[in-house]
């Protein structure tokens, strides 16, 4: 069957089971858009900025486990995808990004809207392709989806010149891919697993550090099995949130810069770390030279290059988390760590997360906790970056697997709204809340139009503190309160929402928080709430840069004492 390149691409996407494309058209992808109506099974969602398309595809992928797809035109369209692609890359999210390119005879001539997007995205994609013939499209799509979705997932970019979309070729979808240089290791080494089991059996003070790899692998049951059988406290990274139910008695919540004090103290005091699908990011480990000084480390990860990159590992196990945990759990005897768990519980009691209930103004933490209460934790939360993100991580009790979608590695302000759109499109039956900062929200605010046009019923909670809050917090703590370029004026967000055709309310009174959330939930379509919150609230606890996880700065209002005082941080 002879088809043009655009149709070959669509046929191939259909073969890959694609249902949704987030995109934005332009000259070089016009031949593609022209044939889209022939493929009603490919729903196209028109974003307002290509960054939104990449974030939406990224979040769609995270919540569905499928590969997300975004499309942009050549030049500026492709460039606008870059932040979103980088975001997907750092958070191991499977995205296939398709960009138009100028026609083949113009390549290399600095033609109108020509940009070397494969060159630009080399360091931020798992792989990319410049497709120079229509008869290569099918194979490239097959490979791209395979590479994006297997092993350690990541974004793959296909750059397709305009005339390749028009060129005709025989369409035949390949049955399988043959990539000699790409064979992810999925089965863990038996000897290593045995060694790990032995270390766990001998450990007196073990902790599990669960990362996004657990979620990617779908190893919720296996993680729980390991924790319960050997009675090991579970701590997650930021992106590991919702890999383990936070109402479980063994859950200690999140570690790291704004992790719970009890999680960080437990990591610091442990004699064995079982890290599963996490990569020892500096925001998670604190000062790495002082990280978990008494612990041996078992590191389970699908990416061999993560082993030993940041932290010295005693027993590395490369492979799929679910596979490995299944085998490992079988080799373990039931254990109790009564003394250790007793100690951990003491830390938990001594250093709980804090919400100031006496304050007159609305506390941002209070808003998050009420969203959790009203939804009964039965929602997918997406976040912006900064204080709002940390409060969303801390004060919502994540019980549902894979219910937290946040920009971890890149820390991209403006992720929340397009991510919520992607998540809601991917899981239409779920309630999706975007927890936004007033600053970051304005970076992708135009996607309100996307939500309205496609009636994507996302609920938006802006924690409006009038500041680029997290940066202001650093100025408060480390720059003697010199608030340079952090006070922020904003438009009337409710009016903006209404202008886009979406209802919204502004909440300034604590007593109205719950009713506002309920109102948003009752409304069928997208809804925005502008919560005017305490402007100078800080996120605590905090492990300042350069400090170890035991050097914790807690809320001064709590007047708690830690054994270790945070060291002075001079090199900020």
């Amino acid at each position: 069957m002879k088809l043009n390149g655009a149709r070959i691409l669509c046929e191939s996407l259909v073969k890959e089971g694609v249902e949704v494309i987030f995109g934005f058209p332009g000259g070089s992808v016009l031949p593609l858009y022209d044939v889209l109506p022939r493929y009603p099974q490919l729903r196209h969602i028109l974003v307002r900025h290509e960054q939104g398309a990449a974030h939406a595809a990224d979040a769609y992928a995270r919540v569905t486990g499928k590969v997300g797809v975004c499309v942009a035109t050549s030049g500026p369209g492709a460039c606008n995808l870059v932040t979103g692609i980088a975001n997907a890359h750092l958070d191991s999210s499977p995205v296939v990004a398709i960009t138009g390119q100028v026609a083949r005879p113009f390549i290399g001539k600095d033609a109108f809207q020509e940009i070397d997007i494969t060159g630009i995205t080399v360091p931020i994609t798992k792989h990319n392709y410049l497709v120079l013939k229509a008869d290569e499209i099918a194979m490239v799509v097959k490979e791209a989806f395979h590479i994006a979705g297997t092993g350690r997932p990541g974004p793959v970019l296909l750059d397709i010149p305009r005339d390749v979309f028009i060129e005709e070729a025989t369409f035949e979808y390949p049955e399988k891919v043959e990539l000699h240089g790409y064979k992810p290791t999925l089965r863990g080494h038996a000897v290593q697993i045995k060694k790990a089991a032995k270390l766990i059996a001998e450990s007196k003070r073990p902790v599990i550090l669960a990362g996004r790899g657990v979620i990617i692998s779908g190893a919720y049951e296996e993680l729980r099995g390991l924790a319960e059988k050997a009675q090991i406290p579970v701590i997650t990274t930021l992106l590991g949130i919702s890999s383990f139910p936070e109402d479980h008695e063994l859950s200690l919540g999140m570690m790291g810069m704004h992790g719970t004090a009890y999680a960080n103290l437990a990591v610091d005091g442990s004699d064995l770390i079982i890290s599963i699908g996490m990569r020892f990011d500096d925001r998670a480990t604190g000062r790495v030279s002082g990280f978990a000084p008494h612990a041996q480390v078992i590191h389970i990860d699908v990416d061999p290059a993560e082993i030993g990159k940041n932290v010295r590992v005693t027993v590395p196990i490369v492979g799929d988390v679910k596979n490995i945990l299944r085998t490992l759990n079988k080799q373990l005897e039931a254990q109790k760590h009564l003394a250790w768990i007793g100690q951990v519980e003491e830390w938990r009691r001594a250093h709980p997360l804090h919400i100031d209930h006496d304050a007159d103004k609305i506390q941002p933490q209070y808003v998050v906790s009420k969203i959790c209460e009203v939804t009964r934790g039965n929602a997918i939360i997406t976040t912006g970056v900064g204080q709002n993100q940390m409060w969303a991580a801390q004060h919502f009790c994540y019980r549902k697997p894979n219910s937290f979608v946040s920009s971890g590695g890149l820390g991209t302000m403006g992720f929340e709204l397009p991510a919520a759109i992607g998540a809601k499109v991917g899981r239409p039956d779920e309630t999706v809340w975007a927890i936004a900062g007033d600053g970051g929200f304005q970076m992708t605010i135009q996607e309100l139009g996307t939500a309205v046009q496609d009636n994507v019923a996302v609920k938006i909670a802006i924690l409006n503190n009038g500041y680029l809050g997290m940066v202001r917090q650093w100025q408060d703590l480390f720059y003697e309160r010199r608030y340079v370029a952090t006070p922020l004026s904003s438009p009337d967000f409710v009016k903006v929402a209404e202008a886009y055709g979406m209802p919204g309310i502004r909440v300034t009174d604590k007593s109205k928080v719950v009713s506002a959330i309920k109102k948003a939930m009752k409304h069928k379509g997208p809804f925005l709430i502008d919560f005017v919150v305490e402007p100078e609230e800080n996120v605590y606890p905090m492990v300042a840069p350069g400090c170890t996880l035991a050097e914790i700065l807690d809320d001064p209002r709590k007047k708690v004492e830690f054994k270790l005082k945070p060291r002075a941080t001079s090199n900020l």
Partner: protein, 163 residues
């Protein structure tokens, strides 16, 4: 051993060298040399990369390279019995009065004179880096006009091929 020899079998496609170079730059790996050419297998090139183990985590270089889709196989052959060679072309200033002394040096090093002009000669030398370094330093006093070195290429001795 601080200098590590890493051999990578890579697909012979446009952009592969760029990917490898981009990776090395981005991760601040310190490399001494990189040499690329066809291998015995059609469609595949062999890259020899010399890494300074004192300043760079060599295992990371190997693993990160291995993640590139177009990289088929990466081996650190430093610990093996290897034959390592480099080719150099040295254009040296030569006058009738210095020519014979230069020829003597070239002979000692089993190098070759491949071009002679009125006031210069081009010398072709192969060997390990040290040999070329010492030849170079002996020729220096005559005045080096130009130097081109290929960087190291290496194979394991005997019938063995890397795992």
């Amino acid at each position: 051993m601080t200098k590590h020899t890493i051999v990578a079998l890579v697909e012979d496609r446009p952009g592969v060298l760029n990917r490898v170079a981009s990776l090395i730059r981005r991760r601040s790996f310190n490399i001494e040399s990189i040499a690329v050419g066809h291998s015995e297998q059609p469609g595949l090139s062999r890259m020899t990369i010399v890494v300074d183990g004192a300043t760079t985590a060599v295992e990371q270089v190997r693993k990160q390279l291995d993640k590139l889709i177009e990289v088929i196989k990466v081996t650190d052959i430093t610990e093996g019995r290897i034959i390592a060679r480099e080719l150099a072309l040295i254009k040296v200033h030569a006058t009738p009065s210095t020519r014979s002394e230069i020829i003597q040096i070239v002979d000692i090093f089993r190098a070759k004179i491949v071009d002679v002009a009125a006031d210069s000669m081009i010398i072709e030398a192969t060997g390990d880096e040290e040999k070329i370094d010492s030849l170079y330093s002996l020729l220096k006093k005559f005045g080096i006009k130009e130097l081109a070195r290929t960087g190291r290429i290496a194979l394991l001795r005997g019938g063995t091929v890397p795992e």
